[in-house]
């Protein structure tokens, strides 16, 4: 990939975005009937489906249950057809396990866990198409699904990635930018309070530039928040209108 110019002199990225522009986000809540909450999100060409069950009694015996808070159980998986080359991905592979762990950490920090002691919430995330920023899309989808399920949270959790190319931070990086070997910073925040619930970085980035990249990523999460919030409000008003019709 050495020959690809990630950022042209005129300030365009390979897909035509400017450094600080997000990809197009489209989302829908309540896509499944049988789940307690569900959502579908597209961030550019990254497409993710999330479903939430619970809170319910802990499955598999009392042993796992926590006495003071709810057990958040996540499962992340990628469809065989989600990448350029078709590849079987068994549930337990290392990458998805790691991602599962990360999601679990993120949502443990955001859900008001103490409200449901000795019970369990399941979050299932499936990546249908992967084009960079899988974690971010998964977090955003899961947030929407949790909201759909009506589970109390401190705030939305919004995630966004960023990188650093030619002395310029770029936000919401796609697969091509991700795989070019540059630094990748992933952050999940609670946008209203600007608290960071999750932060991860790959590859090398000079210390001096860290704050610049982080600022851009946090700004990205706020933009994501706007989109998600609008989607939630639209969904609510739609559902409310439907219920009114139902009642009348």
């Amino acid at each position: 990939m050495a020959g690809i110019e990630l950022l042209s002199d005129q300030g365009f990225r390979i897909d035509g975005r400017k450094p600080k522009e997000l990809r197009r986000i489209q989302c829908r809540l309540g896509v499944f009937k049988q789940a307690d909450g569900s959502a579908y999100i597209e961030q550019g060409n990254t497409k993710v489906l999330a479903a939430v069950y619970g809170p319910h009694e802990t499955a598999g015996g009392r042993g796992k249950a926590l006495h003071d808070k709810v057990l958040v159980n996540c499962q992340y998986s990628m469809a065989t057809f989600s990448t350029g080359e078709r590849k079987r991905r068994p549930r337990g592979d290392r990458k998805s396990k790691e991602m599962t762990m990360h999601l679990q950490q993120t949502f443990n920090a955001a859900i008001m866990t103490s409200l449901y002691p000795r019970s369990q919430i399941d979050i299932y995330v499936e990546v249908l198409q992967s084009d960079g920023g899988n974690y971010c899309a998964s977090v955003n989808a899961a947030t929407l699904a949790l909201i759909d399920a009506g589970i109390p949270m401190k705030d939305y959790v919004c995630a966004c990635s960023a990188s650093f190319v030619k002395d310029c931070p770029i936000v919401d990086i796609n697969y091509l930018e991700e795989s070019s070997g540059g630094p990748e910073l992933i952050v999940a925040t609670l946008p209203k309070s600007s608290q960071i619930v999750f932060l991860e970085m790959n590859s090398r980035l000079h210390e001096d530039n860290l704050s610049k990249v982080l600022d851009v990523a946090v700004k990205g999460t706020k933009d994501v928040y706007q989109v998600l919030d609008n989607a939630v409000r639209d969904h609510i008003s739609e559902v409310a209108a439907f219920h009114k019709l139902d009642q009348s």
Binding site: G3, S8, F12, I14, G16, E21, R23, N45, G84, H206
Partner: protein, 1051 residues
């Protein structure tokens, strides 16, 4: 700005690593406002693109080449008078994917060059300028359609203010699109050149035909068969199985011997440094300078390099003639063969038609002709041209296009002619082109940026600047010491005693960065040139004359801006405080070296006055005072410098040797004489002050910008390079230790043969040859332990003191000024600086080569017509042997500083015997050789030559048709030249001065003094006069000579 983005997907098919096809979807966002970068734009679409330049307002039209044109005829677009080119993104992509990386970087260079005012337009991100590729549409067709669509959009976007010319090489497209929109012309390249450029640049037409012919004959893809695939190369290099590096052809044996030098990042591993490539089959179509990947052959196939000195222009195709060379080679070296080429570094080459080239009766058809490049290391090039007869004795410029797998020679095309061979101007132009030095006059736009200083509008100091700067005009005695007749004075000095008893030393450097703003045209041009190029008879300035010879030149008696470094030194010369900053100075005296030296030695007042124009017309009383003041300052300066130097020497600084020859030209530009430059202590004094300033500036900028300071380092030499030096020294029983720079310096100091002062000089010169080059680098790109300067024995060093002549100094000035907070310019980042430093290094090397080649050219002119008579005292000279080869010797001629081969065995196999009466004769015989001696056994007897023996040689001109003419050295006698006694005496004079240690230096430096036994007849007198140590050669020029090391090829 609210921009509406449209998202769409684009489907691409790739080949996967396993060989199957992969379908990839990439999204693309389009918008309505994509900067058009035209200064005529009405819709204000250029946001935050200040640093990008704009398309010109005043052009008659804009050019938009389609991808095929950009790929095949890029060279025409490179012509500097064509401006206003719009490359669409489609074109750039096509050049990248269907062309080569090299081609892409050439395209980028056009766009980067502000003077060309050309841009890349992102048509694929513009909603209306883009068109989707249709089902079943061929790639080329779609590319043309997309280019036309962009051209149309551009035309409409600028509201019809500017006609657009789309260039294509497809006749159909011309007809299809040509009439669609008024003022959007679609022309073929030929048509376009005919209409617009035929009268202005007739050369372009020739270039076009030449290119067209080579496009037609190019069979695509064939060139790289026989090389490994890029994937395999990358994998091989990563795993360490294959080695990547630049191919360096041995100048002395170009047809068979080449080396691959590892590139910088691989240098850590010391085990195998250079890979030997033997023969043209193993070289596998690589040309000197290419970045290649080699495979190491099994040990059984390793071989040594030949020790026979090849006579130039001998075709070495008949292998039979060299069957006996088995025992004339060095021990086997790691040998390899080229298996792939990462990057071609083909450039323009100067070439000549073969002397006896036949052209089938002068027919006008373009035929294929072989031309011989000027540079020995480049193979012959096949070009097609119909002008063989007209250009028979011209030097021409050619370019290589390709090298087919089934062809012995590469294909190229003719670019232009330089003029008749043998003319001085042609030869100089050839030297410049061979070293890629461009010497176009400065452009008008650039001159407009600069301040003026004409009698009508004199330049004067700006009052606002006076307030900002420290004013030294009245407080300090500032003066400059330079070579006589120097115009660009960039350094001045001041020194005074403070009331506290401390000494204040100041170095004041011309404030070039005040005039040259980053990214101004002057800056770009200066960066491109990087250095002023000094040839033997002329120079090409880096900055326009208004700056270099006037406003930046710190001449005496006028106010000038300067950047100063001022130290406060304790009486024992320790640095107590340093001040850096911008100042205003008024230099009191402009002295020259000889005069300054004489003043310090007590020149009488009368003579001082008549040599310093600044003192004339001063009253008697004041005169005495002022002379006294100046004399004190100079001697104080010398004392400081001596101390500083002694400290550095204790740290292990080296003193090395190089002879600079000055060409004395008569008015008619014919060469009068070649004289070695003289050396005095004052040279060292100035050099030492400059080194001191450079070092302190380096310290400051490294401290402020640890990741992006521009420094200069001199890496450790490689141990194996010292073998010849050790060999030579061993013949006189000297031992050279090369563990560290200190040991080397000390052991070199001990190598003094009282009978023969040249020995020490020669050994120092060989040591210089063994060194690696000092180079600029950005601190962010190397680890801290590589910063040091080996030769100067300093941990940090940079170039700060000659901003008029070197671009690196300008960069350092900007960094220093930001470091002390006097400017808030945007400094280049580490990566930019790294690129820049590579460029500067390359340009400096090129300038050095050019300088040396021009000196050789003048040497040849000097000996032209003198070689005839045997008794010409200029041609019969003393020489000293410094290397022994299988069929001859390499000797050094101290009189002219020339090195060259002397043959003891002729091509016919005869050996040279010196008869009793001293005349040489070729007879049958044998040659046997050991490490240190070579013995010629003939019918008449035996004759042995040892390393460092003196011999007498005759110099004569060796004319060459295709290459530069050289000098031929013939052995005349195996004893020193008679009149060389005189030379020895002269040298002894310098040598003596070096040996006597001066008192204060000795106090600093406890090493024992080495006194020579042969002090010469006039030693006591000399001692009285000097009383201190003028070192033999100017330190400064010596350290400069580090860089020259690369000039000596391995042979």
């Amino acid at each position: 700005m609210a921009d509406i983005l449209q998202k769409s997907n684009r489907f691409l098919r790739f080949k996967s690593s396993k060989g199957g096809g992969v379908c990839v979807v990439r999204e693309i966002y389009r918008r309505e406002t994509v900067p058009c970068q035209s200064s005529l734009c009405l819709s204000n679409c250029q946001e935050n693109t200040d640093e990008l330049h704009l398309l010109p307002k005043e052009a008659s039209h804009y050019i938009m080449p389609d991808p095929a044109v950009a790929r095949d005829y890029l060279e025409i677009l490179e012509e500097s008078s064509i401006t206003g080119i719009i490359f669409t993104q489609t074109t750039v992509h096509s050049v990248q994917h269907e062309g080569s990386r090299k081609l892409l970087s050439r395209l980028k260079n056009i766009v980067k060059d502000k003077r060309r005012r050309s841009v890349i337009f992102h048509n694929e991100f513009q909603t209306y300028a883009y068109c989707e590729r249709e089902q079943g549409e061929s790639l080329a067709l779609w590319q043309r359609r997309a280019t036309f669509q962009s051209a149309e959009w551009f035309f409409n976007h600028l509201a019809g203010q500017m006609p657009i010319v789309m260039l294509t090489d497809n006749q159909q497209a011309c007809e299809e699109y040509g009439k669609k929109t008024v003022n959007v012309f679609v022309l073929t390249v030929e048509d376009y050149l005919n209409r617009f450029w035929k009268d202005i640049k007739p050369g372009l037409m020739d270039l076009y035909y030449s290119l067209k012919a080579s496009v037609g004959s190019k069979s695509k893809g064939k060139e790289y068969i026989g090389y490994l695939s890029p994937d395999m190369l990358t994998a091989g290099v990563k795993s360490g199985k294959l080695i990547q590096g630049f191919l360096q052809v041995n100048r002395n044996n170009a047809s068979t011997e080449a080396f691959v030098r590892r590139s910088r990042q691989d240098m850590t591993e010391e085990s195998i440094s250079d890979i030997f490539i033997y023969g043209s089959a193993a070289r596998n179509r690589a040309v000197h300078g290419d970045l290649v990947v080699v495979e190491i052959l099994p040990r059984s196939q390793w071989r040594g390099r030949s020790l026979i000195i090849k006579e130039e222009e001998v075709e070495v195709e008949d292998l039979a003639a060299r069957k006996d060379e088995g025992d004339d080679t060095t021990p086997a070296l790691p040998t390899g063969q080229v298996v792939g080429i990462v990057q071609r570094n083909w450039k323009e080459y100067v070439a000549t038609f073969a002397q006896n080239e036949e052209t089938g009766g002068g027919d006008k058809k373009a035929g294929k002709v072989l031309v011989i490049p000027y540079d020995f290391r480049i193979p012959k090039i096949r070009i097609s041209t119909c002008q063989v007869n007209a250009l028979r004795d011209h030097r021409i410029v050619v370019r290589i296009d390709s090298w087919e797998i089934d062809s012995q020679y590469p294909n190229g095309h003719f670019v232009r002619s330089l003029g008749k061979r043998g003319d001085l101007e042609t030869e100089i132009a050839a030297i410049l082109i061979e070293n890629s030095i461009s010497v176009n006059p400065f452009s008008d736009a650039q001159m407009k940026e600069l301040p003026t200083d004409t009698p009508e509008r004199p330049w004067h100091i700006d009052d606002s600047e006076v307030k900002k700067r420290r004013d030294l005009r009245n407080t300090h005695l500032v003066f400059s010491i330079d070579p006589k007749g120097c115009e660009d004075v960039d350094d001045t000095l001041s020194v005074r005693l403070l009331e506290t008893g401390n000494i204040e030393l100041g170095v004041h450097i011309a404030d070039v960065s005040y005039y040259v703003h980053p990214d101004s045209l002057t800056d770009i041009e200066a960066r491109e040139r990087s250095t002023t190029v000094y040839l033997a008879d002329r120079r090409y300035d880096m900055l326009p004359a208004i700056l270099s010879a006037n406003l930046c030149s710190l001449v005496s008696g006028v106010d000038r801006y300067a950047v100063s470094v001022i130290w406060e030194l304790s009486p024992s010369y320790d640095v107590l405080a340093v001040w850096y900053g911008r100042t205003i100075i008024k230099s009191r005296y402009k002295l020259f070296y000889e005069l300054a030296q004489a003043i310090s030695e007590g020149l009488s007042s009368e003579e001082i006055v008549c040599n310093i124009p600044e003192l004339q017309g001063v009253t008697e009383h004041e005169l005495v005072e002022r002379i006294q003041e100046l004399r004190t300052a100079i001697s104080c300066l010398m004392t400081i410098a001596r101390n500083l130097k002694a400290r550095r020497v204790r740290g292990g600084a080296l003193e090395l040797e190089s002879v600079e020859v000055q060409v004395q030209l008569s008015e008619t530009k014919s060469v009068q004489d070649l004289t070695p430059k003289e050396h005095m202590e004052i040279h060292d004094t100035i050099a030492e002050c400059m080194i001191f300033a450079n070092h302190w500036v380096a310290t400051k900028i490294t401290e402020s910008f640890p990741n992006q300071a521009l420094l200069r380092h001199h890496p450790l030499p490689r141990e194996e390079q010292f073998s010849n030096l050790k060999n030579c020294a061993a013949t006189h029983g000297f031992d050279i230790r090369t563990k560290s720079n200190k040991e080397l310096a000390e052991s070199l100091d001990k190598c003094v043969d009282p009978q023969d002062p040249v020995v020490n000089k020669l050994l120092r010169m060989l040591a210089t040859q063994a060194m690696t080059n000092a180079e600029y680098f950005s601190t962010g790109s190397l680890s801290r332990d590589q910063f040091f300067h080996y030769g100067l024995a300093l941990d940090l060093y940079t170039h700060f003191t000659s901003p008029i002549r070197r671009y690196a100094d300008i960069l350092v000035h900007r960094q220093l000024l930001s470091a002390v907070g006097e400017s808030n310019m945007k400094l280049p980042s580490n990566t930019e600086l790294d690129d820049m430093s590579q460029h500067i290094n390359q340009k400096h090397r090129a300038a050095q080569y050019a300088q040396r080649e021009s000196q050789e050219l003048f040497q040849c002119l000097f000996f032209k017509g003198r070689g005839g008579s045997d008794d010409d005292e200029h041609c019969i000279v003393d020489a000293i042997i410094y290397q022994i080869r299988a069929n001859g010797l390499f000797v050094y001629v101290p009189r002219y500083g020339i090195k060259g081969p002397v043959y003891l065995r002729s091509k016919e196999g005869q050996v040279l015997h010196i008869q009793e009466n001293g005349s040489p004769e070729w007879t049958g015989g044998e040659i046997s050789r050991t490490e240190q001696t070579i013995t010629v056994t003939s019918l008449y007897g035996q004759m042995t030559y040892r390393l460092l023996d003196h011999v007498t040689v005759k110099l004569s001109l060796l004319e060459s048709w295709a290459h530069s003419s050289g000098l031929k050295l013939q052995l005349m006698s195996n004893s020193p030249h008679k009149s060389s006694q005189l030379d020895v005496k002269n040298l002894a004079k310098q040598q003596k001065a070096e040996i006597i240690k001066e008192v204060s230096s000795a106090a600093e430096d406890k090493r024992s003094m080495q006194m020579s036994h042969d002090l010469g007849p006039n030693f006591p007198e000399l001692k009285k006069q000097y009383g201190q140590t003028p070192e033999d050669q100017s330190l400064y020029s010596l350290f400069e000579s580090f860089r020259e090391t690369a000039l000596f090829s391995a042979g």
